[in-house]
């Protein structure tokens, strides 16, 4: 059965498109694994020839008040993951901390070669708060001749959960390394010096130092530190990495990861949503251009500023005065300047027909060249090539306020009847518009600079706001191609974006309690 087009379209925008956008959006990277509140870690104590195990855990809330108000930590050990765990020691409140927010304990009563599991427990407000089980960990005796660890020393724990992978969504020559930071990596800690990253082509080395980074996490959401190796990385070649933490003269290294190979990607997976939305916009524009070319009448609402162009030029003709046209203060790489030149073509045609003098002071030499071509062409089309003179379009200066001063001087001395400001403007907008107002000229402005719009609205008779400036070329020429693109941008752009935004806002609000709102908000992130 044939469904009405409008129902199909509505179903597409309300159901299918949001679903596709949801399925295509880029997913976040891997999280680091933590076990709050203690996040207990255990290592074989480096530098201990007798062999021992060092434990590190993060202090609980309240462990900074007093010995009377905060109980001790109990250290529990077992030979098996499932227990039973027996208490082997106590870390009292008064025991010096390893860092402002972590504590350590060393278990020397272990036998090398055996594996052990540990937990930490604390009685808080009458209930026991127990940590994760750290292990299995096997104590290794340090060989003689290497530096001994002094019993009072704080042990540096290494970074863990090291991952290395090809940097996603790039053109190769890049490898990303992520790790969970060392427990000793305290914010603005004076003793923590950062991390060194080492690389080799073979797992046994030799490794070279390829970079260093400061402490702290790079991505707080995932709790990882990130380093990107772009140092002469060749695609297709295998690399191995490890990371050293540096603290108070100690170094603690992670395990080696690899092999990892860099490569290029054909598609940026984080930009799927952007591609879909851009595709809809382009399709819409081309569709309506086609429709306009086939003769369909496309409605465009009245734009007061553009309706007044004829009247403004006519006024100058009657008064025997000049028309000034200021095409913005930016260069040809700015789309607003191009839009301004489009309106200049129309104004120039009118001044040619009415034999009114036109002056176009510009701020950029490339704009001068283009503006001369535009005006010349307009005078030719109006059948008045003899009225055209290169001096009608002239360059003043690139400097913002030098240009404003120059135009102001010209306006005050020559007192034009009509002044157009069409293009990109900055702080000079009010200086220009106020001066024009002071001599009683009729002023028509148009800009897509939101900060300057209020000044033009206050000082000018008509103002084209934002996209009305871009619509001017379609509006003035009534050319089907341009009208079609205008309609396409409104339908494909605004309607689609707004409907998606509304649908997702409603869904995010309704699904807030189910914890996926954060993920839905991420849908529109550009990566």
């Amino acid at each position: 059965m044939f469904m009405p087009k409008k129902i199909l379209l509505s179903a597409f925008f309300v159901i299918i498109l949001p679903l596709v956008v949801w399925l295509v959006h880029g997913l976040p990277g891997q999280q680091s694994i933590s076990y709050p509140p203690y996040d207990l870690t255990a290592i074989s104590t480096p530098g201990d020839t007798a062999g021992s195990i060092a434990l590190n855990w993060f202090s609980l809330d309240g462990d900074n008040q007093s010995a009377e108000s905060f109980p001790d930590y109990r250290i529990l050990r077992s030979g098996r993951a499932e227990g039973p765990f027996e208490e082997i020691g106590i870390v009292a409140f008064a025991t010096p901390r390893a860092t402002p927010n972590s504590r350590q304990y060393r278990d020397s009563a272990v036998e090398t070669g055996n594996s052990y599991f540990y937990k930490v427990s604390c009685l808080v407000d009458g209930s026991s708060v127990e940590s994760n089980a750290a292990g299995p960990i096997v104590p290794v005796a340090q060989t003689a001749g290497e530096k001994l660890a002094v019993i009072e020393d704080v042990i540096l724990f290494p970074p863990t959960q090291l991952r290395a992978f090809d940097s996603p969504n790039d053109d190769g020559h890049s490898i990303s390394i992520e790790w969970k930071i060392s427990p000793n990596d305290v914010f603005r800690g004076a003793k923590f010096s950062g991390y060194d990253i080492h690389r080799s082509n073979v797992p046994e080395g030799p490794y070279e130092l390829i970079g260093d980074v400061t402490g702290g996490v790079s991505d707080p959401g995932r709790g990882v530190k990130i380093f990107t190796d772009g140092n002469n990385v060749q695609d297709g070649k295998e690399y191995y990495y490890y990371v050293n933490a540096r603290w108070d003269g100690q170094i603690a290294g992670s395990g080696v990861v690899g092999p990892v190979v860099a490569g290029q990607q054909w598609f940026h997976t984080g930009r799927g949503v952007s591609l879909i939305l851009l595709g809809i916009l382009i399709f819409s524009i081309l569709f309506y251009i086609n429709q306009a070319k086939s003769g369909k009448e496309l409605f465009i609402r009245k734009i007061a500023g553009l309706e007044a162009v004829d009247e403004a030029v006519g006024r100058a003709t009657e008064m025997g005065k000049k028309v000034f046209y200021v095409p913005g203060t930016q260069d040809m790489d700015n789309v607003q300047t191009i839009a301004g030149l489009t309106i200049l073509a129309r104004v120039a045609k009118l001044t040619a027909e009415y034999e009114t003098r036109l002056e176009v002071p510009v701020s950029r030499s490339l704009v001068m060249v283009s503006a001369r071509e535009v005006v010349k062409e307009s005078y030719l089309n109006a059948g008045r090539p003899d009225y055209y003179n290169d001096d009608m379009v002239y360059y003043l200066t690139d400097d913002q306020f030098g240009y404003a001063a120059g135009v102001d001087g010209l306006v005050v001395r020559q007192k034009p009847a009509t002044i157009f400001y069409q293009g990109a403007f900055y702080a000079e907008s009010l200086i220009l518009a106020e001066t024009g107002n002071s001599i009683g000229a009729i002023q028509i402005a148009g800009t897509a600079m939101p900060a300057q719009l209020p000044f033009f609205v206050a000082a000018c008779d008509y103002t084209l706001i934002g996209e009305e400036l871009f619509a001017a070329s379609a509006y003035l020429s009534r050319e089907p191609k341009l009208l079609g693109s205008l309609k396409g941008q409104d339908i494909g752009g605004k309607l689609v974006f707004l409907s998606l935004a509304i649908i997702f806002i409603v869904m995010i609000t309704l699904l807030q309690k189910h914890g996926i709102s954060g993920e839905m908000i991420r849908v529109f992130e550009v990566h």
Binding site: D170, D171, Q264, Q265, W266, H268, R271, S274, L275, L281, I285, I289, M332, D333, V335, I338, L341, T342, A345, R364, S365, L366, M368, S370, E373, V374, K376, E377, S378, N381, Y395, T397, D398, D399, F401, A404, A405, A427, L430, I431, A433, E434, A448, A458, A459, I465, G466, E467, L469, F470, A471, S473, K481, L482, S485, L486, Q489, G493, K494, F497
Partner: protein, 219 residues
């Protein structure tokens, strides 16, 4: 070919940047980087083009003794002083280094002149506000009130005025100013930004596809 070559160049470069945004693979990523470098070179050359053009126009004005030709002499002398001081009288150091003649001219001549021009805005804002801001209708009145709240709220004077008017905590002028800036202003700015962005994309698409050719001169 005078029109075809620029159109082809525009299409190739424009499409490269758009496609490269989604497909980073060689050669697109490489081409986008190359075109970015070329753009920097062209932009730097355009600065020179502007300066030489200004010199040419000023010299022409002096030669033909056109109206206000004296100001053209001032322009030429200023231009030459800065260029010569920068290139030839920097004492062997790089010309932008602090302590050079160029740096002295920048701090003691260019900076005050530039700041003075910008300072004129304060006067123009006052006269434009006096002339244009009238409570002609309901919308204009709301605009005026919002303007008052934001202007007063951005000054320490707002606390004194809020206490004088016995405004409750959380509804003081500075709080109202923040509400206007963070909600109403953001909503309006977003709407304008979205509209402008769509207009930009549409115009850029027309330029890339060669539908919009005004920048080449005429139709």
């Amino acid at each position: 070919m005078k029109r075809e070559i620029p159109l082809i160049l525009t299409a190739v470069v424009g499409l490269t940047f758009v496609v490269q945004f989604f497909i980073p693979h060689y050669p697109l990523g490489f081409m986008a980087d190359m075109f970015s470098d070329w753009f920097s070179i062209v932009a730097a050359c355009a600065i020179w083009l502007g300066a030489l053009n200004l010199l040419k126009i000023s010299l022409n004005k002096v030669y033909k003794k056109e109206k206000d030709w004296f100001f053209a002499i001032v322009t030429i002398i200023s231009f030459l002083v800065i260029v010569i001081a920068g290139f030839f009288f920097s004492g062997g150091r790089r010309f932008q280094e602090p302590g050079t003649n160029f740096d002295w001219l920048y701090i003691n001549v260019y900076s005050p002149l530039s700041a003075t021009m910008f300072a004129m805005l304060a006067f123009y804002v006052a006269s434009a506000s006096y002339r244009a801001f009238r409570a002609r209708n309901a919308q204009a009145t709301i605009l005026l009130l919002a303007a008052f709240v934001v202007m007063v709220g951005r000054t320490p004077f707002s606390d004194w005025l809020s206490n004088l008017l016995f405004m409750p905590e959380g509804w003081q002028i500075s709080n109202l100013s923040n509400i206007i800036m963070n909600f109403f202003n953001v909503a309006g700015q977003r709407a304008i930004m979205i509209g402008i962005s769509l207009g930009l994309i549409s115009t850029a698409l027309r330029i890339i596809l060669g539908i919009e050719r005004t920048y080449l001169g005429g139709d």
